[in-house]
């Protein structure tokens, strides 16, 4: 092989990495051959690179159940539901960070603007519904997981399950630790005058401490105790561990069509709760006002939160649309 051919082959291999692993496994080798031949004929062609980037992105979206069609309806539903779960996971930290700030503010003083009061109530109901949905969604998954473990079919499951458990344990322990000392923790005199139990608000605030605009103000950030700054950096990593562990576990569980249908129904409910939360949050940011003692002031992080939550909801709804319940109904089980 000449140096030119060798270089083209290496460039082709790099471009194939734009595609999803499933696609690459099936077509990667022959596609790299075609790309290398094309490169030798037309060494510099930016349209070829753009074409590969576009098609590679499409293959990844298809693998994630967000575009195209996977031949197996079960695989299509599983991929789309996992994508919905990832979108929900992006939505939740920003939503909870916003909601916990507002509910902690309520413990100091009720909001004076009706829009803020109504928004916090709607957001609180949506959070409660999402928590219930999380239990309903997790129950059959946990059941299938336990059956696999009892049946000694745990291959490939233990590592992601351990990652999920470690991340969750870190979040719970850190949330409990850093939630102490704020209004809402048991001993504080204002612990029980808010809209939601103070402990819940403080715990949620502590677990989402990393969602803050202080990252853009390093000087102010360094004024915090080092342990708190460390937790602000560690808690998002713990969340990522929870999401990656959960996604990998669900992908490897091979759930039945019945479980997938249940998850699809629950996901549609979650989509509705996310939409209600987002509308309420947007109403507060746009029309809420700072309220007494600036307790309900909407900052730049809240605007960013709206953008992230809006994008996550759009992706989530797209994924729900592609679950294809009719195709799933025809699947056995």
């Amino acid at each position: 092989m000449s140096e030119l051919e060798d270089r083209a082959a290496r460039r082709a291999e790099r471009l194939v990495r734009c595609y999803s692993p499933t696609w690459s496994q099936r077509y990667g080798e022959e596609f790299a051959e075609l790309l290398a031949a094309d490169m030798l004929e037309r060494p510099r062609d930016w349209r070829r690179v753009l074409d590969v980037l576009r098609c590679g992105a499409l293959s990844r979206f298809t693998a994630a159940g967000l575009a195209g069609e996977i031949a197996d309806p079960m695989a299509q539903a599983r991929a789309a539901l996992v994508s919905f779960g990832v979108a929900l996971a992006a939505f939740v930290p920003f939503g909870l960070a916003m909601w916990s700030q507002l509910t902690i503010g309520w413990q100091w003083s009720e909001p004076s603007v009706p829009v803020t009061g109504l928004a916090v109530v709607v957001m609180s109901v949506a959070v409660a519904v999402l928590a219930l949905i999380a239990v309903l969604a997790a129950a059959p998954i946990v059941w299938v997981f336990l059956r696999r473990i009892v049946g000694r079919q745990q291959r490939g499951l233990l590592l992601p399950a351990a990652l999920f458990s470690v991340g969750l344990t870190l979040l719970v322990l850190g949330g409990r630790h850093f939630g102490n000392g704020w209004p809402g923790t048991g001993g504080h005199p204002w612990a029980h005058q808010g809209l939601v139990p103070g402990g819940v608000a403080a715990f949620t605030w502590a677990t989402t401490l990393g969602v803050t605009s202080y990252w853009a103000h390093p000087a102010a950030l360094l004024a915090f105790p080092p342990a708190e700054v460390a937790w602000m950096g560690a808690s998002p990593l713990a969340m990522v561990a929870v999401v990656v562990g959960a996604v990998q576990t669900v992908r490897r569980l091979d759930c039945s069509a019945r479980v997938l249908r249940h998850e699809a129904r629950v996901a549609r409910l979650a989509g509705a709760a996310m939409a209600a939360f987002l509308v309420a949050a947007a109403a507060w940011v746009v029309d809420g006002g700072p309220g007494p003692r600036n307790l309900f002031h909407a900052g730049s992080i809240d605007v960013l939160g709206l953008v992230v939550m809006g994008s996550a909801l759009a992706v989530g709804l797209r994924a729900l649309h592609r679950v294809r319940p009719r195709r799933l109904d025809r699947a056995p089980g």
Binding site: W23, E30, F31, R48, G68, E69, A71, P73
Partner: protein, 121 residues
């Protein structure tokens, strides 16, 4: 023809016969090229360039190939070579026939109208 795993043959056939949608151009070129015999990716590119004057970029070509294979209109020919040849299936031949008939109908109508109204032969 063996349908792809998890997809009933009838469903694939119905979908394929319903049309190619926005993949109509590359799909028709590829099927027409394979109607002349099995070819691998590079040979397809050169053949299509020769008979249609269109050079399909590699990404677009393989996007269409994967879709056509998923619909059961083409199939990979077992080969030891890194370049995998593809061939038309019986369903692919039927679908191509319908597609070309429809295009021919439009072409004939357009030519007749051009000739009648504009005098272009």
């Amino acid at each position: 023809m063996v349908p792809p795993p998890g997809r009933p043959a009838d469903a694939a056939k119905d979908e394929a016969l319903a049309g190619f949608g926005r993949y109509a151009g590359p799909a028709t070129f590829i099927l027409s090229s394979l109607a002349g015999g099995e070819k691998h990716g590079y040979a397809l590119t050169k053949d299509i360039e020769a008979f249609a004057g269109v050079r399909l970029p590699p990404g677009t070509l393989y996007e269409a190939l994967a879709r056509l294979e998923g619909q059961g209109l083409i199939e990979a020919v077992p080969s030891e070579d890194r370049r995998k040849p593809y061939r038309l299936t019986a369903l692919g031949a039927t679908v191509l026939r319908r597609q070309l008939d429809a295009q021919l109908k439009v072409a004939n109508l357009g030519l007749r109208r051009l000739s009648g109204t504009w005098g272009v032969a």
